[in-house]
């Protein structure tokens, strides 16, 4: 399976003020410009908010959020309201399994936890993530 995978934008919502700014965006594809990633990410946030307010979600994996043009968007939310979004381009003869997506999200989540555990990382939600270890982990996740 090799969809061109544009990559996740975790967005934290700190409990009093819901900020929803992207912490990290990685674009793995050559066909879509970065701006498009931002756009898709922001629309996905709205969808996620809708989804979680509608149903009482016990599960962190939100599954396929929506599909537009040839892009499919998958979402994942942590209990601290940090959202991970993966956007893939749909290749018609390849079906993307939920299990694979869950694995990817789990690895991203683990990398995020490792990042946050660093005493020098400030999780205030305003600054984008610049840690080289996190970037390396993301590169590994996206090259499957």
């Amino acid at each position: 399976m090799s969809p061109t995978c544009q990559f996740p934008a975790p967005k934290p919502v700190s409990s009093p003020a819901r900020q929803n700014n992207p912490l990290y965006i990685k674009n793995c594809s050559t066909t879509y410009p970065d701006l498009k990633c931002h756009y898709v990410a922001h629309t996905s946030i709205d969808l996620i908010e809708e989804r979680i307010s509608a149903t009482k979600h016990a599960d962190q994996y939100l599954g396929l959020l929506y599909a537009m043009e040839e892009l499919a968007v998958f979402g994942y939310i942590t209990n601290t309201r940090v959202k991970f979004i993966i956007v893939t381009s749909l290749v018609s003869d390849v079906s993307i399994k939920d299990q694979d997506m869950k694995n990817m999200f789990r690895r991203i989540h683990n990398a995020y936890v490792t990042l946050v555990s660093c005493p020098f990382h400030d999780p205030d939600g305003k600054q984008p993530i610049t840690s080289p270890a996190f970037e390396k982990a993301m590169a590994e996740v996206t090259t499957i």
Binding site: S117, P119, F120
Partner: protein, 191 residues
């Protein structure tokens, strides 16, 4: 009267770790130490100062920790500095951090040695900010602990970090230097 033979140091350390040591979560320990260092950095802004403070804190810990160590391990007085090095690596570090650093690079006069630490539990998940990477010794508290502990057993030592994987080096290495054995000193004013 026959002198009781001591079991090999590594075995003693292992046994004590398994039976007589209360344990806490590794993450809790790492995060606590991390927040200590982060707070010191916020308070001082100068990496040399932070190193000094960590050393001082370690010293205070070492001075008290040695009593706990001697009570738990019951090791006899070390014959020479080499035995001291062995005991520190195989029993001391094992009991308190559950790691066994390697003793290496003994100097010709047996007064200096290196401890090479394989995976430092204090530095788990840590990434040094760029400007700190040249000056901060993240685990400097260990230097103080060794200094304080050995001073209580009549050895004056200097302990410094030589390299640290957090700084991009290959290994984490501590250098321990024996300055002198301390004699019992008569307090001033008494004859």
């Amino acid at each position: 009267m026959l002198r009781q033979q001591q079991p090999p140091a590594r075995q003693t350390g292992d046994d004590i770790w398994k039976t007589r040591v209360d344990k806490i979560s590794a993450e809790l320990f790492t995060l606590t130490y991390g927040s200590v260092v982060a707070q010191l950095l916020k308070d001082h802004e100068n990496y040399a100062e932070v190193n000094k403070h960590l050393d001082k804190m370690g010293y205070n810990i070492g001075v008290k920790l040695i009593e706990d160590f001697l009570a738990k391990s019951g090791v006899h007085r070390c014959g020479d500095f080499r035995e001291t090095a062995d005991t520190i690596a195989k029993v001391g570090f094992k009991i308190f951090l559950n790691i066994t650093p390697t003793v290496a690079n003994f100097s010709a006069d047996s007064k200096e040695f290196s401890l090479i630490i394989d995976d430092n539990p204090l530095a788990e998940f840590v990434e040094l900010p760029e400007d700190a990477a040249g000056e901060l010794w993240y685990s400097n508290i260990l230097c103080g602990v060794l200094r304080g502990a050995l001073e209580m057993v009549q050895m004056q030592v200097e302990v410094t970090f030589v390299s640290d994987v957090l700084r991009g080096d290959d290994v984490t290495e501590l250098r321990v230097k024996l300055v002198k054995y301390l004699e019992e000193e008569v307090p001033a004013g008494e004859d």
